[in-house]
Amino acid sequence: MDALLKVNGVSKRYGFKQTLDNVSFDIGSGKIIGLLGPNGSGKSTLMQMIAGLTPTTAGEISVMGKKVGRETRSLISYMPDRPMTENWMKVKDAVAFYKDFYADFNVEKALEMLDFMNLDAKSSVSVLSKGMNERLQLTLALSRNVNLYLLDEPIGGVDPVARGKILDAIVRFYSEDSSLIICTHLVRDMERIFDEVMFLNNGSITLYEEVESIRMKHGRSVDDMFKEVFGE
């Protein structure tokens, strides 16, 4: 009954711009949730607030009953849409950096994932292509042992062929009792790995539903729904 994540009446204002407006939802354990919306809909802001990196203007967020902040750092792993690694690093330095930084980091899992991703531990981070860098960031984020994973556009910079590999890795390596929130605008490529999706439209959640029930009730894909809601 206890939600893993509770977002209650959360708003965010930057100057005059209302980025998020009174957003509330709960997320249970063992779910992969798609947070969907066009660019600028407030997805990344919401993710950053759940990660405890950006303060809310109003409302409250809690993870496993704890208000987001210092205490929830060990419960959440966040993959930002911009790399967190430094250019001087080699892949193995990035892994060592995470291991030093997070007590819950699983090196064995990281090495297994690197192998699966065809990433060479000796390559320099600076020479990795955008797609390979995304694979590295995903490896680092998923190798932590936490309750909630936040992935911001994990397939944003990858060509369609390589997307499959990333999806494969997400399904293969996420731990089943934790939950994942993945934000993306590439709905068609990702909808099959979601349990539930949320549409974020101009700072409000306009739909929060099980993916299979969308298909069953409306006889259409999440992508079609998405296009109808956000199409111009």
Partner: protein, 138 residues
């Protein structure tokens, strides 16, 4: 294993049909072990809970059975497999007949057309006879 999914239809139903088809065509034999939830989810790049649901439904229909601690297996009951075969054939037939009726064919015409088509096909389709033969026996 690869399936072309239609995102407009519930995925668990599509995977159920896919597995049933594999059983009917003999790709999965009675008593064969089927992949774990995690394996199949990763192979198909599908949400694991969706796969879980697929397996639950297949269990409910007694197409697969779970042996505690060992995994899931295709049913060994030939009669069950026959039943799936008939069900799938029934679906195909229903679709076909419905389509033909929509085109304005009368039932008698449909029978004639099918008869002719089967005769014409039979001559050049000797290779498929083995598989077809097995299905026909059912």
């Amino acid at each position: 294993m690869s399936i072309e999914f239609d995102n407009n239809l519930p995925i668990y139903l599509q995977i159920m049909n896919h597995i049933k088809r594999q059983i009917v065509s003999g790709l999965l034999q009675p008593g064969d072990k089927i992949p774990s939830v995690r394996e199949l989810a990763a192979d198909l790049q599908i949400n694991p809970n969706t796969i879980q649901r697929t397996f639950q439904e297949l269990e409910r229909e007694e197409v697969v059975e779970t042996k505690r601690g060992l995994g899931r297996y295709v049913t060994s009951e030939e009669s069950k497999i026959m039943a799936i075969k008939k069900e799938m054939a029934g679906d195909l037939l229903h679709q076909f007949i419905h389509g033909m009726q929509e085109l304005g064919f009368k039932n008698q015409d449909i029978v004639t057309i099918v008869k002719e088509a089967v005769t014409a096909d039979g001559g050049k389709d000797q290779k498929g006879a083995n598989l077809d033969g097995r299905i026909a026996e059912g």
